[in-house]
Symmetry: C3
Subunit: 110 residues, 3 copies
């Protein structure tokens, strides 16, 4: 019986200044086996406070699917590649998944 | 006082080959009470390694909102309905929520 | 060495009837320091059961980034501002993050 409960795999949610930047970073993460897959969502609008004023900007979302053990290395790499000084890079733990998909995700990372 | 802390409800994140496929699967999951609601996000670009090369494809995201106890049945159903051999089906635990919304979610599943 | 493991910060996932509604609510949450940042994703299609029939509607997603300790106040505020009687407001815990980004997130909330 396949084991579906695993806590070693994560989504890493990153925001970027454009779809092109998200695709560029996502491709490098996959090439370097820091992620098995990247999902890029275009058409995101960000609202945030900056120097006391509320600003709005067009951005994109990059979701990198990887092992939790690679999180620190992935974060360092995103910081090197990213156009922002302080990019949003946060980890969401995956509670479970399709066993075959989780196996693929592990095989394609690290 | 309503209880807001609950760990029995989850998001199930699925990727599909098109918005149409996401809507078709989402509708069946809701009809069969395997999910209370499905959110379909179009315009997702996926980057992944396949047979050693980095590939890119246009996809869609389906987020199914359901009880954690239905995860295995929902995963089996998505695998039956999905055009991919190894679809991404992963579970994100909801820590808390609007109590009325969580009640609705429970009432519409299982 | 910066500490990356933190469980006090969260994503709050909200759905709205339009991008405009998501931006309006997101801006107020940021202005009132109930969130440091809001990410609005347009072009979401929702599938759900209503009075026994499966319905479909065009919506938007609002992801508010904040402290877990602000969740109840944020939920109350969204319920006041939202056009729906029972809006989807659910919390996803962040396991870790870019330390500088987490510091910024804390500084801009509460």
């Amino acid at each position: 019986m396949p084991e579906t409960r695993k806590a070693d795999l994560v989504f890493v949610y990153v925001t970027t200044g454009s779809k092109e930047e998200a695709l560029r970073i996502g491709r490098i993460l996959v090439e370097e086996r820091l992620a098995a897959c990247a999902n890029v969502l275009d058409g995101m609008t960000s609202v945030y406070r900056w120097n006391g004023a509320v600003e709005q900007a067009e951005e994109a979302v990059l979701i990198a699917k990887t092992r939790s053990s690679l999180f620190d290395r992935l974060t360092d790499r995103v910081r090197e590649l990213h156009s922002y000084d302080t990019p949003c890079v946060v980890e969401l733990t995956l509670a479970r998944g399709n066993p075959d998909y989780l196996d693929w995700l592990r095989a394609e990372t690290g």
